[in-house]
């Protein structure tokens, strides 16, 4: 047997072993990728089916589910679904105009190493590591009749709404305040590490030219951080469509969210899902996906464009 032959055989052996290696390593991940595709895009199929009789396969019902979802928005209903839409719009404004700017401003202050910045940074991270259940339960007990907030307001001579803070007219405002209180925390850590990656020389140079802290933020930090801001924004906006947990936990019985006007579209889908109304949930979800996808693509495109302008 010639030397060359042995070598060729060896190479073939190495190649065969590598193929086996790749196949085994990727077997489960790729299988799972197919499964995820199936699970995600099967809602297109499920949206046209009714699962009340045959809970596994469902029965084909055409566009009935879509019609039923549209009917939920009918304003003549006692608790129409458009409150959920209104609430989601509130959340959108909250994410974009309140929590976003607050977390940016706080991050910049921490970046400037204001007094006690290290301790503050740890404390402000607490909502991120705390269970949403704990946060909601704590918030609920603070707002309860005869709870600390009511005592405090009475002490400073303020009046309390007659239905308390968790009644039909006040519950949604309470949830909004809750979302501000716990909402800026996650972004801070990303914004902060993004600001810390800005080369110190840029900031030094600007300072030599007489730029103050605000000018440095506006002209250097903000443009350089814009891709990260866009990404966090798109995550925040994507989250609105499935936002459900605070309303689910804040109102004692989640199906009562209609009466408290605290429902969201995500919560409606969740309630439909837990009631095994998979067809309706899928139809609703499909419609929202059709709205969310172009929105996400747009923001992503903007982020990419901003990123190609930003190089450091």
């Amino acid at each position: 047997m010639s030397n060359l032959h042995t070598r060729q055989k060896g190479l073939a052996e190495v190649k065969r072993k590598r193929t086996i290696f790749i196949v085994l390593m990727l077997a489960y991940p790729v299988l799972h990728l197919f499964l995820e595709w199936y699970l995600n895009f099967n809602i297109v199929n499920m949206a046209f089916r009714d699962y009340s009789l045959d809970i596994i396969n469902g029965d084909f019902v055409g566009f009935d589910n879509f019609e039923a979802v549209f009917k939920m928005f009918d304003p003549s209903l006692e608790y129409p679904e458009y409150y959920a839409l209104r609430n989601c719009l509130h959340l959108f404004l909250l994410v974009v105009f309140v929590n976003g700017p607050i977390s940016l401003a706080f991050s910049y202050l921490l970046f400037l190493q204001v007094r006690a910045h290290k301790v503050l940074q740890y404390i402000l991270y607490i909502p991120c590591i705390t269970s949403a259940v704990v946060l909601v339960l704590a918030w609920r007990s603070v707002l309860q009749p005869n709870g600390p907030i009511e005592h405090f307001l009475t002490m400073i001579g303020q009046s309390i709404p007659y239905e308390g803070f968790l009644g039909p007219n006040t519950a949604w405002s309470s949830i909004i305040v809750f979302s501000i209180w716990t909402g800026f925390s996650t972004n801070i850590i990303y914004f902060l590490s993004c600001m810390r990656r800005v080369p110190a020389s840029y900031i030094e140079a600007a300072k030599l030219d007489g730029a103050g802290e605000f000018r440095v933020f506006w002209s250097i930090i903000l443009p350089l951080a814009s891709p990260t801001i866009c990404t966090m924004l798109s995550l925040g906006i994507a989250g609105i469509f499935s936002w459900a947990l605070p309303s689910l936990l804040m109102i004692p019985n989640s199906t009562h969210n209609g009466e408290y006007f605290t429902g969201t579209m995500g919560l409606t889908i969740l309630n439909l899902t837990t009631n095994h109304s998979y067809g309706l949930a899928s139809a609703y979800g499909l419609m929202l996906t059709a709205v969310a996808t172009p929105l996400m693509l747009l923001i992503r495109k903007l982020a990419n464009k901003l990123e190609s302008n930003v190089e450091y």
Partner: protein, 287 residues
């Protein structure tokens, strides 16, 4: 010109001070909330109803540990606290196993090897991560029902490994950035693919994976939705806490004791990685 700069800096100084005060107040509110919960977890219900701010008063029996005992004997769906803890630990183990295995395996192959069909898989992953499909929980439940794994830990295993996508992308770029010279030396010494992967490259991902694991532990411990949707008959700690609140009704101190008990492990685990998280500058590079 100079005057304008002066004025700008003055306005900024005021704004900065206001923002700083708000930030400190926000931070204090978190601390105050936990201190308030801790103090009230030692009160009797009557003491809490009559005085929500003070320390446990002597006329009501002073510091009372009964709430904690009540939590320990709390049951939901015939499962006590220790069984709920067991369920949660089981979920954590499943998720940690998933975080340590599939994303690393896929990331290694995608980062360091060429193979047929690679572009197709990447496209599939990209589509999956770009389209924010809403309402797919029903489809997942339907699938689990069809294969008979709804409400089981095996079903949770299938769902948990779903999140390998984004983890895989980070690991792909990590493995791609590592030099090939280590592997070449090992191949010459007769090491096979498995040894090169397990002995040389896997350990390189350890720092990143350790953060992932701790984040997974905290995330699963706090997670409500997974248990609520896919594992209702094996309640987790988060689910149990919500039920504890329902059962306790106006007996808030018991619920506070439950909150304290669930938060202690989180703070302990978090203290291990807090420094790493805050000192890293590559977190913002998630884009």
């Amino acid at each position: 010109m100079k005057k304008q700069v002066m004025q700008e800096s003055k306005i900024w100084l005021i704004a900065k001070t206001v923002l700083y005060v708000v930030m400190v107040l926000a931070a204090l509110s978190y601390i105050a909330m936990f201190v308030w919960i801790l103090i009230n977890s030692f009160k009797t219900p009557l003491n809490y109803m009559n005085d929500v701010f003070g320390l446990p008063a002597d006329e009501y029996g002073g510091f009372d540990f009964k709430n904690y005992l009540d939590v320990l004997f709390f049951e939901y769906k015939e499962q006590n606290l220790f069984q709920m803890l067991g369920n949660t630990v089981m979920l954590i183990l499943i998720n940690v196993f998933c975080a340590l295995s599939f994303p690393v395996m896929a990331g290694y192959v995608f980062g360091r090897m060429e193979f047929k069909g690679r572009a197709k898989f990447e496209a599939m992953l990209y589509v999956l991560m770009t389209i924010p499909v809403i309402g797919a929980a029903g489809s997942t439940l339907n699938f689990l029902d069809a294969i008979g794994l709804n409400n089981t830990f095996a079903g949770i295993f299938i769902i948990s490994s779903a999140s390998f996508g984004s983890g895989m992308l980070v690991l792909t770029s990590l493995f791609r950035g590592l030099p090939s010279s280590y592997a070449e030396a090992a191949y010459i010494d007769g090491a096979g693919e498995w040894q090169v992967f397990a002995r040389i490259y896997y350990p390189q991902a350890a720092p990143l994976l350790s953060i992932n694991v701790i984040a997974t532990i905290i995330g699963v411990w706090n997670d409500y939705m997974t248990g609520y949707l896919y594992l209702p008959d094996h309640p987790t700690i988060a689910l149990g806490l919500q039920q504890l609140q329902r059962k306790a009704g106006f007996d808030y101190p018991i619920m506070f004791a439950g909150i304290v008990l669930t938060m202690i492990p989180v703070f302990i685990v978090f203290s291990f990685i807090a420094k790493r998280i805050f000192n890293s500058t590559d977190l913002g590079a998630l884009k």
